[in-house]
């Protein structure tokens, strides 16, 4: 057989069985590669390149992608400006610093809170009667299916200071007219975190728990019953079983879920724009929103590209660190 193949390879490059396969592969991958070169590779390269220019689509540049000319090459100037912590830093730099803080705070809150909710919830749902399980799973999964714009609008109304559900409930319970402006009062800060950001966080968690919930439910289902029974027979309570048997077996899933949750949290845009649009006094101005505004509202695409490079670097480094950290601690 190998002889035949060898002969085929040497003599008939595009003929015969081998040739047919090569034609097929080439016929599919070459167009795909060309396509990806334009729509995947080029944007990435261009984005990184833009970060070194002062670019605005309104100005004419050289014919090469519009760079140069009125859109001068500025090298590392954008990145240097980002390290400017002096009092008279330009507004876009101070907004950048705020955005980094907001985004990091948001992401580092989302992941533990998400896991703290979805893990127990998955365990609870997993242990109910099979008929009732899909009902609960559906209820918690529905927000995932809704558009994040819809989520932002619904929660915006729930948190409305005068007509919202939350303040209405508080008013009825306490008897005092409550008009707390959850998403527009910059003076509301809880444990150092703006309440507006917490509000967006809650809305995001509400929408997002469905994802991890189904993943954990499936992972829990995959745990052999025999293992749990052995624990039971030995006298372990439900909580002990969960903590010492179930959790360790779930570690790979938890690791994967936490990384994906973290990466997603860095890219949230819709909620930030529709619910608070950067929030009271830039308190919810996440990096994704900062990039969008700088690029499309202020037409500073070079600066926006530089900020997006920083965002990418942050995501990359944190995912790497997370993988290393969690994997090392939980080798088994």
């Amino acid at each position: 057989m190998s002889e035949a193949i060898g002969v085929g390879r040497r003599r008939r490059w595009f003929g015969g069985r081998e040739g047919a396969q090569k034609r097929f592969v080439a016929g599919v991958t070459l167009p795909a590669v060309a396509f990806m070169a334009v729509f995947s590779l080029l944007p990435i390269v261009w984005a990184f390149a833009l970060a070194f220019f002062d670019f605005s689509p309104r100005r004419a540049g050289s014919p090469f992608l519009g760079l140069g000319g009125d859109n001068p090459f500025v090298g590392l100037e954008h990145f240097k400006a980002m390290t400017d912590f002096s009092a008279d830093q330009p507004i876009q730099v101070s907004q950048f610093h705020t955005a980094v803080k907001v985004t990091l705070a948001f992401a580092f809150l989302v992941v533990p809170l998400n896991l703290a909710i979805t893990l127990p919830l998955a365990a609870m749902i997993e242990s109910v009667h099979t008929r009732v399980k899909p009902i609960f799973r559906t209820i918690f999964f529905l927000p995932v299916l809704a558009s994040s714009v819809g989520v932002a609008i619904i929660w915006g109304f729930v948190l409305h200071p005068q007509n919202g559900l939350l303040n209405g409930a508080i008013t009825r319970i306490t008897g005092k007219t409550t008009q707390i402006a959850w998403i527009s009062d910059p003076s509301l800060v809880y444990l150092g975190i703006p309440v507006a950001l917490l509000a967006v966080l809650v809305a995001y968690l509400w929408q997002d728990i469905g994802y991890n919930l189904v993943i954990f439910i499936a992972a829990l289902q995959a745990i052999p019953q025999s293992v749990k029974d052995a624990a039971r027979v030995d006298g372990a309570s439900a909580w002990q079983t969960f903590r010492h048997i179930t959790l360790p077996l779930l570690k790979p899933t938890i690791l994967l879920a936490s990384i994906l949750t973290m990466i997603s949290a860095f890219q949230v845009f819709d909620l930030f724009q529709v619910m608070t649009d950067g929030g009271p006094q830039d308190q919810t101005r996440a990096l994704s929103l900062d990039i969008y505004r700088n690029a499309f509202r202020y037409q500073q695409m070079g600066w926006a590209a530089a900020v997006s490079v920083v965002l990418f670097a942050i995501v990359f480094v944190i995912s790497l660190a997370q993988t290393r950290l969690l994997r090392n601690r939980w080798e088994y």
Binding site: I91, T177, S184, D185, P186, D277, Q281, F296
Partner: protein, 445 residues
């Protein structure tokens, strides 16, 4: 198994229906709204299609449509299609479309913005109006924005005013025993505003005087600087001067109104309970917004409109000067293949006194044409909008705000954010002023 197959089949059917529906009717949609890149062509026959863009506003859009229909009646070969955009994204749309060559023929343009788009606009042809002609025909305020480097880039349709007088709900005023004769000092206004404010359990459920929307706040701040004898721009207009004693006085006065609890900027601002919404839904007794708002809301809220008057705001000292933007008008993009027809429409809508007056009547705006602010035209306008009387008296005090590098950013982000921070104690008045000046000067860069 059968349930799964059934669901699969049902879903496939839904898919197929959607795809069919989309494919079948998609063709129609394309030709309808899309006038083609760069306007309709006129190869051979006379038919001309012009695309016009405007920001979304019920009364403004109605006025533009009426003007379009009237022009089409006189010129049957021309058809004008109006496309409207959210105000918030209108700037962005213009900024992306103009350089992209996607621009429409006619743009309903805000005067103060015009010069930053001058590269993509055509100047008014001389046979329509020369600059000296325009300067005689129009008030200087509205025309100011459309004039860039001594060239005229558009024709104004309104005199934009967002300061000088405030909406007053006479029913609420009477109920609180407040007279509607007007005020001679700010203390009087504040005292009256306090009487009409309603506070329940420490929460302001009805604001006395809403001035904390984006326009109101910026116009108040800059106008008060002028009235205090100062100036917000330096002599050659290359830098902002906001951190001045006059600036401090202006911001302190505004802050005192918040401190006296006639408004809670946390609950009543640009995003929530915006002044127009607030006033017409009776959550505000008085509100600072231009007369166009009355036209916008009157159909939905006739009772409140019936009880609405405008009262002049008191001056800070003697001067009653206030700033005004160069308001909305018509410009023509340089992409338009039918610029001559487009300018003819602009002339028809903005320069012909009867048409301009009709536009003002529908949109509830003050005229930009000097001719329409006097005589029979003035009477008709006041007949339709009684509160115009107050505005006509004030109009001579309006002063064009000047060429601002990024007006919207200055008003709605820089002044707005820092003023609110000062009101809520997040920044001191001095810090707010310094930050405002620094950030405003960044916009020149």
């Amino acid at each position: 198994m059968s349930r799964r197959t059934w669901t699969m089949r049902w879903l496939t059917a839904v898919f197929a229906v959607m795809l069919l529906g989309a494919a079948c009717t998609f063709g129609e949609g394309e030709t309808d709204g899309d006038g083609g890149d760069g306007g309709g062509g006129t190869t051979g026959g006379e038919a001309v299609t012009l695309r016009m863009w405007a920001h979304r506003s019920t009364s403004f859009n109605a006025a533009l449509r009426n003007a379009a229909r009237a022009y089409e009646a006189e010129h049957p070969n021309v058809s004008i299609e109006l496309e409207t955009f959210d105000y918030d994204s209108y700037i962005q749309t213009l900024q992306t479309a103009l350089p992209a060559g996607n621009a429409p023929d006619i743009i309903h343009m805000f005067g103060t913005w015009t010069c930053s788009y001058a590269d993509y606009l055509t100047t008014v042809p001389d046979d329509i109006a020369t600059l000296p002609d325009a300067q005689t025909a129009f008030f200087s305020g509205p025309l100011g924005g459309f004039t860039c480097d001594d060239a005229l880039y558009g024709l104004p349709q309104e005199s934009n005013v967002e300061y000088g007088a405030t909406l007053v709900n006479t029913a609420m005023a009477d109920a609180a025993g407040v007279s509607t004769d007007g005020w001679t000092s700010w203390d009087e206004l504040i005292a009256d505003a306090k009487k009409v404010t309603v506070i329940q359990d420490g929460a302001i459920t009805r604001a006395g005087y809403h001035f904390t929307a984006g326009d109101g706040l910026a116009h108040s701040f800059l106008s008060l600087i002028l009235q205090g004898g100062g100036s917000y721009l330096n002599a050659d207009g290359t830098a902002f001067t906001l951190d001045t004693p006059e600036g401090e006085r202006a911001l302190t006065l505004l802050k005192s109104m918040v401190d006296q609890q006639i408004i809670d900027p946390v609950v009543y601002n640009d995003e929530q309970n915006w002044v127009g919404d607030c006033y017409f839904t009776e959550l505000c007794a008085m509100g600072l917004v231009g007369p166009w708002a009355v036209a916008d809301y009157k159909d939905d809220y006739p009772e409140v409109t019936a009880n609405t008057i405008y009262l002049e705001l008191p001056p800070l000292e003697d001067s009653k000067t206030f700033i005004a933007d160069s308001g909305w008008g018509l410009a023509v993009s340089s992409d338009s293949p039918k610029a001559d027809v487009a300018w003819d429409f602009a002339r028809f809508a903005a320069l012909v006194p009867e048409n301009a007056e009709a536009w003002n009547l529908t949109s509830g705006t003050l005229p930009a044409l000097v001719e329409n602010a006097e005589g029979a035209a003035r009477d008709r306008l006041v007949g339709a909008f009684p509160h115009f009387e107050t505005w006509f008296n004030i109009l001579p005090n309006a002063q064009f705000v000047g060429q601002l590098p990024d007006r919207d950013r200055l008003y709605y982000e820089i002044i707005y954010n820092h003023a609110l921070a000062a009101f809520q104690g997040g920044e001191t008045v001095d810090e707010a002023l310094q930050a405002m000046e620094a950030e405003a000067n960044d916009t020149f860069g």
